[in-house]
Symmetry: C2
Subunit: 467 residues, 2 copies
Amino acid sequence: MKSIILAAAASLSVASAQGIPDEVKETADFLLRQGLEDRVGYQTTEDLTTEVGARLGGSEAEARARDWAVEHLEELGFSNVRIEEFTMPYWARDYEYAAIAEPFPQELHITALGNSVGTPEGGLTGEIVRFETLDDLIEAPMDNALRGKIVFVDEGMTRTQDGSGYGVAVRKRSGAANEGAKRGAIAALIRSVGTDEHRFPHTGGMRYEDGVRKIPTAALSFPDAEQLQRALERGPVSVTLDMAVETKQEVTSGNVIAEIPGQTDEIVVIGGHLDSWDLGTGAVDDGAGIGITTGAAKLILDHVNETNEKPLRTIRLVYWGAEEVGLLGARAYAEQHRDELSKHAVAAESDFGAREIWKMDTRFGEDKIGLGRDMIRVLAPAGVALGNNQAGGGPDVTPLRAMGVPVVTLRQNGWDYFDLHHTADDTFDKIDPDELAQNVAVYAAFTWMAANTPGGFRADDAATPSE
Amino acid sequence: MKSIILAAAASLSVASAQGIPDEVKETADFLLRQGLEDRVGYQTTEDLTTEVGARLGGSEAEARARDWAVEHLEELGFSNVRIEEFTMPYWARDYEYAAIAEPFPQELHITALGNSVGTPEGGLTGEIVRFETLDDLIEAPMDNALRGKIVFVDEGMTRTQDGSGYGVAVRKRSGAANEGAKRGAIAALIRSVGTDEHRFPHTGGMRYEDGVRKIPTAALSFPDAEQLQRALERGPVSVTLDMAVETKQEVTSGNVIAEIPGQTDEIVVIGGHLDSWDLGTGAVDDGAGIGITTGAAKLILDHVNETNEKPLRTIRLVYWGAEEVGLLGARAYAEQHRDELSKHAVAAESDFGAREIWKMDTRFGEDKIGLGRDMIRVLAPAGVALGNNQAGGGPDVTPLRAMGVPVVTLRQNGWDYFDLHHTADDTFDKIDPDELAQNVAVYAAFTWMAANTPGGFRADDAATPSE
């Protein structure tokens, strides 16, 4: 352990020697302090969620969001504002209904999971078989014991600051249908993947395994999962499920891009995703990320315009499309920009609500870890500590990370993020303007440093960008 | 002021002289302590809300609730368990939909207000005219300025412990439609009468004024009212409203009654209302009141059975029907029991959720105010203070109060009651068993004292009940 610490210390001193120049840190500090007073980010989130509202990937509403975005970004004065289109399969809910049929007839609040098939017309009715966890279902024998039944995976989710409860709980979103179908079930219900106790079912994408029968699948709200559990304590329960969905083979979506041109052909990417689920107005997911990164980029743009001091690298603001339905915009971006990915110095997406950033994780070359420490000296006054060097970077930078692009996660407090996530209750009123401004501040300072640190963040990449 | 205090002190000493006998207070104290451990009340609420669920006045579900109640009350061992039927007009929502039509097309979450007419088939669309408060609308000129428009009364509600914010805010529930129609509006929307910030519209009854055109009326959830307000800040907004309702002239409802027979023909009435709105499962409104008063009565019944000590007065547990839709069960009860109302010693309804009781208001004869002080000596250990002598007694005892029956309000902490009230989110999981048990304890102790205090609670009624 000691040798690792020494090695880290050694690399720090090397990195510091050729680290972030003082004048870059000074400007970053200036942007940080300005950002704490920012309202452009908050206003951006308000405008998007008010003037467009819900904007499902591939929908006409998402197209309106792109038009709104182009107008907004041009109005703010960014360069090279454009839509980069791609095509995608389309899924939308049409209607959904569930009720206890016997012995206590009453409606249940559900929502279809994204990509689910519908039920036969008129619905289906089956006896509920409850599993406490997805693992219990996976361990159940493959003997068709669930033939004609509706499987109910009643697993809960743990509330955590870093959102780590999600990764565990979300497995059931696909798993309930796939594992249920393998055992003969006709439909699958899950307790919503969420931490609230309100009557909002949480939607979210699911994927059918190849070769497995596709059965309709939906999430129950917390109170309805509790209700179904109580009913089951009293004896057998049958439920009626009636769902219809709409699908299209190919529709148009797109990423919206805006830039602050740099002195070199290297690029720093920040952004959020423009699409949302259909139930809420996509405020914390991810109108906030759009607002935060736009506010940050706008602060930098104003600084650049005032000082005529171009950043070393181009700062590219990306509003990814169709994230919720499978990172489709992210994949399209990586594909469309394949030839310049080696010029992507670093990427970071804001997609975890609007609460304060408390930690910065990096994924830099091992010999560049010291640059993270350097950055934290600037970000610490805003309450940001240094995390590890295993950052994910955000869902939409996943394909970039896979191609070797360094990434950063500016981790937000996610304590109550999954109360609202993917529900009808994800609306603008939930966002605190001062907390969102802290995000703008941190993103602005980080992005400025990312765009102006000589040598970049990849391992063994000591050369400054070619001018 | 001093003379009033002296008078009160004088009446206290008189009342004490012929006040609550020590052995009655001792039993009340015993019941109070037992009640704090009670689970019958909580279980009753659980059973009703789980096994019946929502139970709109006059509906088939309310009929199932009556059957459930009779079985439950007989199982608990009460006497004279019966349904007292009455007939009533019926109203139910069929479907409801609202959306911003222009300029920002998106769905709004609404719910029809009880008794509203539907829209023409296919819905109606009109420009929104917003009023900050109902009074602003009332003060608007009667010049048909709202012709063809949809009026939007955006008044908020103040959160209070005693629920007093409700009385102010609820006026708009009828007022928006009536005052809007007088000025030519084609529909009326209100910001929900509630204190939460979730995407749950709050329903609730409304009444059309005689001679005023009936226009459809609905409530927006908090986030949707905020959204509409933000949209209006940007310019003119038109909304589409599409609602259908079902009405019947005459259906059957009923009150369910159970008793612990007393030694005299005098009666003490406690209870809650059995019906609920259709959106939630009616847990805090009013499954809790059913559970609380049933738990209290059952504690007394067990005591009576163990000691063979009959109360002086009959304790009558009433589950009123069709409260939400206009106190119809309460009116029927008063009518059907008109001849014995003079024998009703005191009445109290629990209809304000399941949080702790913190205050007891009475409405006793002026010379009997001292009996309230006497009772508080027993109830104080549970955290109950004495309030005033202007108790309402609860919605369903209003007709009894009007006929001179003394009433008591055991006031619950209503701080968050209007977060859930009349929404889909009014579900059993919101109830804390220990808080509900405190209610059972206080009701049991109060009811025992009410049933065994010689001389009763009416003014100038010094006579003990005839034996």
